[in-house]
């Protein structure tokens, strides 16, 4: 599935948060969205999964205008791992993953063995098999993130959006989650805050600054301009340190 954003603008309570965002994620590609806090990454993602209505611009999936689709049809195409945990009411892991079947069910249709089968497979893929009846609230941060990815898998959408999926995770679990997501092979757009992770895992990195997508690669110049820090790629850094030391 191919995702195209063109000239997207989002305004919240009269304040423009996203001004003009354009990007392309090709079928099966993993694109990362980076940028300083408050640059509009989450807002842009929320516009793509239609929690917000864009004030201007076009969002299309495989050449299909998103506005032509119902919410339910959108949910069959786009799965989301947002920064929101269903931890207040005591849902089990299976309850949470079964929620992914929502866009595939009619109001009166029952949850079938087939739905449960897909959930079991999704849990197996994220290495959480056998924990279906655990309480979601009691899981660790990394496990919770895995369950939310399983829910996205059970949704059987071909586009996956992730909003800072490595937040609050230790470094090992950050890498775990990113490996897992990359290996799914879905068309993926992920807002990430770690530039090294973005460079390492994504096929393409889009850089946002004050509501605009300002670059589609992470060069030292872009990092200096957008983040206000001097940064160089690791290999170059190692090389320069080597030069200084010798």
């Amino acid at each position: 599935m191919k995702l195209v954003l063109d000239g997207v603008a989002v305004t919240i309570e009269g304040t423009p948060i996203v001004r003009e965002a354009g990007l392309v994620v090709g079928p099966g590609a993993f694109a990362a969205l980076v940028g300083p806090n408050g640059c509009g990454k989450s807002t842009l993602l929320r516009a793509v999964y239609r929690a917000l209505r864009p004030a201007a611009g076009l969002i299309s999936l495989d050449e299909e205008d998103l506005r032509q689709l119902s919410h339910r049809e959108t949910a069959r195409r786009i799965a989301v791992v947002a920064q929101e945990y269903p931890a207040e009411l005591d849902f089990t892991v299976e309850d949470v993953v079964l929620m992914g079947r929502t866009p595939h069910k009619r109001p009166l249709s029952r949850t079938t063995g087939d739905d449960r089968q897909r959930c079991a497979e999704a849990l197996e893929r994220v290495d959480m098999a056998g924990r279906a009846s655990r309480s979601f609230a009691t899981l660790s941060g990394g496990e919770k993130q895995r369950v939310l990815i399983a829910r996205a898998l059970a949704q059987e959408s071909r586009l996956l959006l992730l909003d800072e999926p490595t937040n609050h995770l230790d470094i090992r679990h950050q890498l775990d989650v990113l490996h897992l997501v990359r290996d799914l092979g879905l068309t993926t757009l992920a807002a990430l805050h770690d530039l090294n992770h973005a460079r390492e895992f994504a096929d393409r990195v889009y850089v946002m600054d004050t509501g605009r997508v300002v670059a589609d690669e992470l060069t030292p110049e872009v990092i200096a301009r957008v983040f206000g820090v001097r940064a160089v790629p690791r290999t170059q850094y190692a090389f320069e340190r080597l030069k200084e030391e010798t």
Partner: protein, 354 residues
């Protein structure tokens, strides 16, 4: 081992929970019937348990059983206790279901119709009709005024809690609590200003919850509203689960959150309005019962809603029996009895969550 076999093996605990659900439903339905049977039998004039069935059977199918009771007993059971017991079922179930829905809506297990100001909104509407008279309010019936009050409360809470197009559960609860006290102040003022002290006392008693006014003709409206409401909610159990997981989550799962939330607001205010109009504002049922239901069958609303309804019905039936018998021949207001259970339960809940 194939994937299918492994998956079936893992599905086993879930299947067990399915049969637990059936068992819980069966036991609770039995408890409702038994509590209702007791409620009809117990009172100043005691009527034997067997006679209760006989009277009901005789009313439904005249001449089908030999009469072993007096006409007075028959009148007490059929005209007073049975409608009262049936109203207890409806109100208990209704309040519990509203509690479950509101807790999902604001994603806060401590939400109940009181915390969101809905009950006091309904009370305000009812007090206005009671004290000022229906004529001053354009001939509104008590139910309609109570419904109007609860809807007004929910709309206000909804508008006040909104910020930037998003509804945050914490703001919802805060706005609800503020409005609750405001409405309480207004109807207390109306009551104080009322001419007749006796009428004011009657209203006050009614405000704390009483099923004493139950008559057969009061039952159809709550029954229809409750039946339709529960049926609608059961059909919508998936969007309800999704909404309980979060607003953005629900949107990403294909739920039109704005429209769905509005439907839930109208439905809950209708339910609360009808329940308050028939029985006053009974606290704690909506808070406690959904919790107990979740402890029994988990958080999935397909199970929580029917279990809450039955549990609420059985609970309120027992509460009403206690309210009638503890201080007989005087009756206690129902909220006094529910609070005796509710306040410790609330505190236990806080400790458990902390």
């Amino acid at each position: 081992m194939t994937l299918t076999q492994k998956a079936t093996g893992r599905a086993a605990p879930i299947a067990r929970r399915g049969s637990t659900f059936g068992l819980v439903l069966g036991l609770l339905a039995g408890a409702v019937v038994f509590a209702t049977w007791l409620a009809v039998s117990i009172g100043a004039v005691s009527v034997g348990l067997a006679e209760c069935w006989g009277i009901v059977a005789d009313q439904l199918f005249p001449g089908s059983v030999a009469r072993t009771w007096t006409p007075v007993q028959e009148q007490i059971v059929w005209d007073f206790r049975l409608p009262r017991a049936l109203l207890a079922i409806l109100v208990g179930a209704g309040l519990a279901v509203v509690g479950a829905v509101l807790q999902a809506l604001v994603r806060n297990p401590l939400a109940d119709p009181f915390l969101l100001g809905v009950s006091s909104g309904a009370s305000l509407g009812a007090v206005a009709v009671f004290v000022l008279g229906a004529s001053t309010l354009g001939g509104l019936s008590l139910s309609a005024a109570a419904f109007g009050g609860s809807l007004m409360a929910l709309v206000l809470v909804y508008v006040l809690a909104q910020r930037g197009g998003r509804l945050t559960p914490a703001r919802l609860v805060l706005a609800g609590v503020a409005l609750h006290f405001l409405f309480q102040a207004i109807y207390s003022y109306i009551l104080q200003q009322a001419q007749s002290g006796r009428a004011a006392q009657q209203v006050l008693f009614w405000l704390l919850g009483s099923l004493g006014g139950a008559r057969w003709e009061m039952l159809p409206i709550p029954a229809v509203v409750l039946g339709a409401g529960v049926a609608y909610l059961l059909v919508q159990h998936r969007p309800l689960n999704a909404l309980a997981a979060g607003e953005d989550t629900a949107t990403s799962l294909g739920v039109h959150v704005g429209a769905f939330r509005l439907q839930l607001f109208v439905l809950t205010s209708l339910l609360v309005g009808v329940m308050v109009a028939t029985s006053g504002a009974i606290a704690f049922v909506g808070l406690m019962v959904p919790h107990a239901a979740r402890l029994l069958v988990g958080a999935d609303h397909r199970r929580v809603l029917p279990v809450s309804a039955l549990l609420g019905a059985a609970f309120l039936q027992l509460v009403d029996i206690a309210a009638r018998t503890v201080d007989a021949p005087r009756e206690l207001a129902l909220t006094i009895v529910t609070a005796v259970f509710g306040a410790p339960f609330f505190l236990w809940l806080l400790r458990r969550r902390a």
